[in-house]
Amino acid sequence: DARVTQTPRHKVTEMGQEVTMRCQPILGHNTVFWYRQTMMQGLELLAYFRNRAPLDDSGMPKDRFSAEMPDATLATLKIQPSEPRDSAVYFCASGLKRPRTSGGARPYNEQFFGPGTRLTVL
């Protein structure tokens, strides 16, 4: 049963420290998403990649957040320096983009979510 994995599952750190979260997408999936979940905002898309190239990172604070895909089996989300307001659950999701059908119907590419990393910045 293929699943998205994320490490660490929990992280407690002090303000100013660097935090790196890792995600292993489902093998064969070509799209990776990073979301942040908070009580107030719900699930927010931070960034996503297709074939390891960033397609949209408009939801990510650029000054302290960075996301990369060093290879097809690893996606990373880094916060440097971390702040208390970054405390949240960070989810990674992966999916397989499929082409449109001959009739032009837009396919939906289901996103499969990881278990999340619960980050607490003190």
Binding site: R3, M40, G42, Y48, F91, K97, Y108, F112, F113, P115
Partner: protein, 108 residues
């Protein structure tokens, strides 16, 4: 602006009662809408999507373009339905815009 609104943070019902989780969206084009569910200690997963017109675990959702709504309904709630429910909009093939979620509590 593309937006999904779930007005209720918490919805509590008794087992056997009907359930309706509200979702309204704002999008100028032809949306694709979904409901995702997160059970306790489990990961977020797709429940249903409007284009499939399917019923999953007794839940249905109808897209009402006139009211820009995609409410999730179930005629008789079960305790195992207790979970966090997210409505989501896909303006493109890839991105999902989520609402803030509604926690459903079903009491015995």
């Amino acid at each position: 602006a593309q937006r999904v609104t779930q007005p209720e943070k918490l919805l509590s019902v008794f087992k056997g009662a009907p359930v309706e989780l509200k979702c309204n969206y704002s999008y100028s084009g032809s949306p694709e809408l979904f409901w995702y569910v997160q059970y306790s200690r489990q990961r977020l997963q797709l429940l249903l999507r409007h284009i499939s017109r399917e019923s999953i675990k007794g839940f249905t959702a109808d897209l009402n373009k006139g009211e820009t709504s995609f409410h999730l309904k179930k005629p008789f709630a079960q305790e195992e339905d207790s979970a966090m429910y997210y409505c989501a909009l896909s303006p493109y093939t890839d991105k999902l815009i989520f609402g803030t979620g509604t926690r459903l509590q079903v009491f015995p």
